[in-house]
Subunit: 346 residues, 2 copies
């Protein structure tokens, strides 16, 4: 188990904060200090999906979706619940085999709304080629939940030839990003707050198992994959840097930030590096495989705008630290986000 | 897909009721009319767990737990979340291989309370011999959830020699029950309402994979298993009768109802046949295997009070109908519960 610097022991009467669920440092502390110790010893880094004991080639991942509002430009909680779990499997190098869907519904929900969510979920599953094989439906009284929460759990089969892990990044690796950042978080927030950006911004929510399958052709040249969801690109890069024990350097100018996203972040005081995405991924690949990996990604709609954003320095640097090289040549640490800037974004 | 008699098409503006989550007829209607059609075609009856495509021997099950209060005599939401999913796998004839745990937490929850829930969950998993291999933690704002909801998903491996299904009951089968009914629901309700029964009643929550593994020794003599959770014994028996297309007859006098449970049900106006259980199961076994199955169950602590409660008539009767033979020789239909008598019981 990778220990955090300064894990905070919780004191009596301490209460849960929204930030504990934000995917940043507070989440990591909660996991390391309270959640994971309850489940007994664990080996290796926290991955997006875990190997099923005894199977050798099957992985499992689970995610609860609480996004508000239920419908937003580019998607809804139903499609998001499929994409999120398919992507967690994909980031482990697996293609999705089956999904389970657990619905937690609030009394009084309009059935037409539920139907629209479920239709979208079913279509997303079909589009991703993964069957929903089992499920559960619970209803709680008014005020005990907020409309619809969905937990999807996926089982996936590891792609032959691909062996990726958050601990797999190595000195010299190129850091690739499959598409623009900041779309999902700003689309949801803009809809929720009625800010009007929603005409220009749509969530990037999409399944990523196809580009991952395409990358599998590069075999051992692909070292680490992660989709920058909660906590954004900053959290994803920091997790890989930490778990791999390598420094990471990113060129700020290389980061693809759509103009409407930049404008929304400026207005809202958000750091785009912390904003959740649901349809792009970072890939750490061997330097000799970088060009081919980029070409593979760009050949698919999901990776059409793939770019190289940085690298793991071949030597030197501070292991576990992510550094941003700015346009004017300055260098600043890209920290793990601490708490919550956008609650209920996924 | 088994079609219900008179599925109700939902009208515009119709809203979700608590009863839609109660495990009875309203739940079945919601599933058949709205939920399942969204997920595409399905073959065979609804089981507690579904076969993983392409594996041949692995099954998957998911369940969200919303019990209130979090702690009750005999258990808590943490242990219940393990037992419930282990049992769904067991009822399909599988031993648990791995669990995922998705936490949905309300801002402001006391961390000591969360810790107690997770410790119990971890201990229950360890006691059942199943590792928690992956998870997720989401936090929503105050008032958007009620303290702690837990979704557990389990993968299990089918026990060799055992082939059970809700559609497997046959004419002549003996109907066995592994222990007393009504304890879980009345324990939770009594605690919630402060009725004082909690000194005499404790939930029966426990894992049932060991008695199922023991029954596997009887091989093809075991036809159908189900744990009577939401909707109680009446729902479990009606589901098997419906999916197997057989009549079922139950002796009221043979039903093991603890005196404090009977008293609580009398006071609260509950039908004990509809009250949720979390630690007993019904087994439909070939007539020739009934005595041995009872002996096997009684040899284990989980089945110490196992009894024969009825049978599938060798001939005659109305397929899909469950009939209760009362003490005075009368016969009445044991209906599927319609709606909700005990919300948030599991």
């Amino acid at each position: 188990m990778t220990s955090l610097e300064c894990p905070v022991p919780y004191t009596e009467n301490e209460r849960l904060l929204l930030g504990h669920g934000a995917g940043g440092r507070l989440t990591a502390e909660l996991l390391e200090s309270l959640v994971l110790p309850s489940f007994g010893p664990r080996e290796g880094p926290l991955e997006d999906a875990a190997l099923l004991p005894g199977s050798g080639h099957l992985v499992m991942s689970t995610d609860t979706f609480v996004v508000s509002p239920l419908f937003f430009p580019g998607g809804d909680i139903g499609s998001l619940a499929v994409h999120g779990t398919v992507n967690d499997l994909a980031m482990r190098g697996a293609r999705p085999v089956a999904l389970s869907v657990a619905l937690l519904l609030e009394e009084g929900l309009e059935l037409t709304e539920l139907k629209a969510v479920l239709r979208s979920l079913g279509e997303a599953a079909q589009e991703a080629g993964v069957p929903v094989i089992t499920g559960d439906t619970k209803v709680v009284g008014r005020g005990a939940a907020d409309k619809v929460f969905i937990t999807t759990t996926g089982v996936g089969r590891l792609l032959p030839g691909l062996s990726v892990s958050a601990a797999g990044a190595r000195p010299g690796d190129a850091v690739l990003l499959s598409g623009p950042i900041g779309l999902h978080g700003t689309a949801v927030l803009s809809t929720r707050e009625g800010l009007g950006f929603e005409v220009d911004i749509a969530s990037d929510t999409r399944p990523l198992h196809r580009p991952v399958a395409a990358l599998a052709g590069l075999g051992s040249g692909v070292h680490a994959l992660r989709d920058p969801t909660r906590g954004g690109l900053a959290a994803a890069l920091n997790e890989i840097a930490r778990d791999s024990g390598v420094p990471v350097e990113i060129d700020e100018q290389a980061l693809p930030v759509p103009a409407p996203v930049a404008a929304a972040c400026d207005l809202l005081g958000l750091d785009v590096l912390h904003v959740a995405n649901e349809g792009c991924m970072v890939a750490f690949v061997a330097p000799g495989a970088a060009e081919e990996a980029l070409a593979v990604l760009r050949s698919l709609p999901e990776g059409r705008e793939a770019v190289r954003i940085g690298e793991v320095p071949p030597a030197g640097g501070h292991p576990g630290r992510v550094v941003l090289r700015t346009a004017v040549g300055a260098r600043r640490v890209m920290d793990m986000p601490v708490g919550e800037q956008l609650p209920r974004i996924c």
